[in-house]
Subunit: 452 residues, 2 copies
């Protein structure tokens, strides 16, 4: 399937053989149809969308980008729109409504049935990135009294509209979540068994509440290998589920967010190309500014030592190398620690184990770098003048800088986690700025003690 | 469920009330039982593992860490081991065998039935990180001739041992993959329908071959929202499946690997704490060394301009700030581009769009930073002496450095992708080192033209 091209489709479109194009498209996966539509001009997109069979069109709609979704809503009739809204899963409808202009939202909600409207509105109201905001309400629910046969008949009657039937949820008269039942358990059991005898019961059911963070939902699904996670309200009443396809999206979203934070940018929800120049600039400038102003300290340190730098050949030339190596060494450590904390492989309690490991690793790395640097400076002393004592100072400073960088690189993310901030902030750029100042101070202190 | 503690279990263990402990554990999720066992000393772990009901013990085994798995294998009898091996899914057995010493592998394979041994051996032979190496062979297969009733009966008879029954695969006499059928499609169809009439047929089936990279499998599952991906050999014969829980693990593994590459470390498969000091040092030192040696160029640039630096107050003091800001600006851009490429949101073809966007973003950021820096240097000129002309040179260099950094930050990852290397290598540290040299040259050129 991979690597096919849209060529044949473009050909059919160009020759205006729409009926044949439609037949061809029906053989395709909805995701690929959506990708094909995204490549078209707006009027062609609308044309093709409207010739697709209605239920296929609704499936494809969920995979289109929000600007095209809005255009489609603008172009179709009220009855077509109302069909579309009812066909969409609640989570897809909400994803789409969160991105489009208010006028589109109003028209969509107006064409929904009162029941659908109420559900969509409820989900729209949950805080961004909460479990409630990403859940769907189309799940299969059984009453605790059901037998296996009743349950299977229930699925046969109601299952078509549900987002998943692989995992079904068992509730009591008060809609409280009492258990979970997989389709596999059902199918492997006898017809007249009571489902409460075979279900996984509440003690063992993993659930989240509507206001839990989506990241916790993803962590839980990953840890327990779940295909869907039930969402309950504060009284343990079942209100929705989050399915694994959405959880995979959450995982990628959270990973992207972590990366952006690590590069000290304000995370954005949009893709790179969709984000405007101004938004890009805004999300990047704050931290660039803060770090630039912080370098006032490094400037002050150098100013205070300017005479020393002028007096001894080779000292100034080594500043970038020392700072660069320190920054890189600290960045490696902080990256490992931040990732370990995010995946739950490390906790705050592991700090001393981590510190002890980093101390030893940094001594090995620092010593190797110092030796290599000695060789480099000695061989190049013809074109980059530096006396033996100066070279030794630089090498000692190198060793110290690497050790300090790795200690800072493992300490800050854990410290920040301890006070419940996001460790991702303590990544490369932040660590580098701090390590720069500290290693300069130590470098100059060594130089003063040894050379002056 | 979240946030419970193991306290009660520890209590029972201390009081040696093993029967009660066992009853208690049986109410728990296997993942939590494994977590509890991981907390115990080796002899307690072996003790508790052996009092668990056999099939529960086998499930828990799959979630233990490899050192504990090896200890358990060492401590149990041949017949217990043989039961354990047959109970494990092939992918879990392979995961475990890839981590433990060869002596353990030999004993495990010796106690497997010839059939199981052959399957495990075949999977063990696929290259690391290939689809074949992570697949499981326990899937439900139907023959194209089956009716819905036959298919459901087949599941009822054979389904218990399969890793998933949610998606079933349809093959012909030659084991060629002809279609895919979900349990939902089966359940919603009439008993005497032929499955080939309701299945999704080969044209639309998404599959991978045994030698495809696991990253491609994950991308495909994410794109098409699949719960499992069929793995075929070069003649399109079905040999295994990869289920979504493993795909989630692959996604996290690949994300970790990208992060480690971005911090210029050799990626490791083990967790932070399990990796030895020596391995940590080895995975970090290569790039630190290369980047340190590269800074020979920056040193040379400074050496060549040492007289100029000594003559004009304030020039040297601003070196770290310029380099730092340039590095940070480049790092932001390269992070966004690398992530965009990894998620498929950006392709090599988008380069000129990206470049145009970055040019505008960098002008806005650079100008704002230059202005802020002017204010800073002007206000601080009492303690960090610098003439007006010097300040203007630094501000101009700042603007230029930011623009150059962002251009390099978007160009290099895409260039590296173009020649089929991993864009993640062109992240922060690498970009910083290159931006350092370029921005120093431009800084000194400006200073020479303006101040000398």
């Amino acid at each position: 399937m991979e690597g096919f091209s849209f060529e044949r489709l473009f050909e059919l479109l160009e020759q205006n053989r729409l009926k044949q194009l439609r037949d061809e498209l029906q053989e395709w996966n909805v995701v690929d149809i959506a990708e094909f539509l995204q490549e078209l001009s707006v009027d062609k997109l609308l044309l093709i969308f409207r010739i697709l069979p209605k239920s296929l069109a609704a499936e494809v709609f969920a995979y289109l980008e929000s600007d095209n979704q809005a255009r489609i809503v603008d172009s179709i009739s009220d009855s077509e729109l109302s069909y579309l809204v009812e066909e969409l899963y609640v989570d897809d409808a909400v994803d789409f409504l969160e991105e489009v202009p208010a006028s589109v939202v109003r028209r969509v909600l107006a064409s929904a049935t009162p029941q659908t409207r109420e559900v969509i509105n409820r989900v729209l109201e949950y805080p961004e990135n909460s479990a409630g905001s990403v859940m769907t309400t189309e799940m299969v629910e059984f009453h605790t009294r059901f037998t296996v046969k009743q349950a299977i008949d229930h699925i046969r009657k109601n299952g078509v509209d549900k987002e998943t039937i692989n995992t079904c949820y068992v509730i009591n008269d008060h809609r409280k979540l009492k258990g979970v039942l997989t389709l596999r358990q059902l199918l492997l059991a006898e017809d007249d068994t009571l489902i409460k005898e075979i279900m996984t019961d509440d003690q063992q059911v993993i659930s989240v509440t509507t206001h839990d963070d989506q990241e916790d939902v993803a962590d839980m699904a990953r840890k327990y290998d779940l295909l869907s996670v039930p969402v309950v309200d504060h009284e343990n009443r079942l209100v929705g589920i989050i399915t694994i396809d959405d959880i995979v999206d959450i995982i990628e979203e959270e990973n992207t967010e972590d990366l952006e934070k690590m590069a000290l940018m304000t995370p954005s929800e949009e893709t790179y190309l969709k984000t405007t120049v101004f938004t890009h600039a805004k999300s990047r400038i704050l931290w660039l500014m803060i770090l630039m102003l912080t370098s006032t300290f490094t400037a002050q340190i150098i100013t205070g030592f300017e005479e020393g730098l002028a007096a001894v050949a080779g000292l100034t030339a080594c500043i970038p190398m020392l700072m660069g190596t320190g920054g890189n060494a600290g960045n490696q450590t902080s990256t490992l620690i931040i990732r370990g904390l995010a995946l739950g492989e490390l906790t705050v309690k592991d700090y001393f184990k981590v510190l002890w490991k980093e101390l030893r690793v940094s001594l090995i790395c620092g010593a190797a770098l110092a030796v290599a640097n000695f060789a480099r400076m000695w061989l190049l002393r013809g074109i980059q003048p530096a006396g033996l004592e100066t070279i030794l100072v630089v090498c000692a400073a190198m060793l110290v800088a690497v050790v300090v960088a790795k200690v800072i690189g493992c300490t800050l993310p854990i410290a920040v986690k301890l006070i419940h901030l996001d460790p991702a902030l303590m990544a490369g750029p932040m660590i580098t700025t701090i390590v720069d100042a500290v290693s300069l101070i130590l470098y100059f202190a060594l130089a003063k003690a040894w050379l002056m």
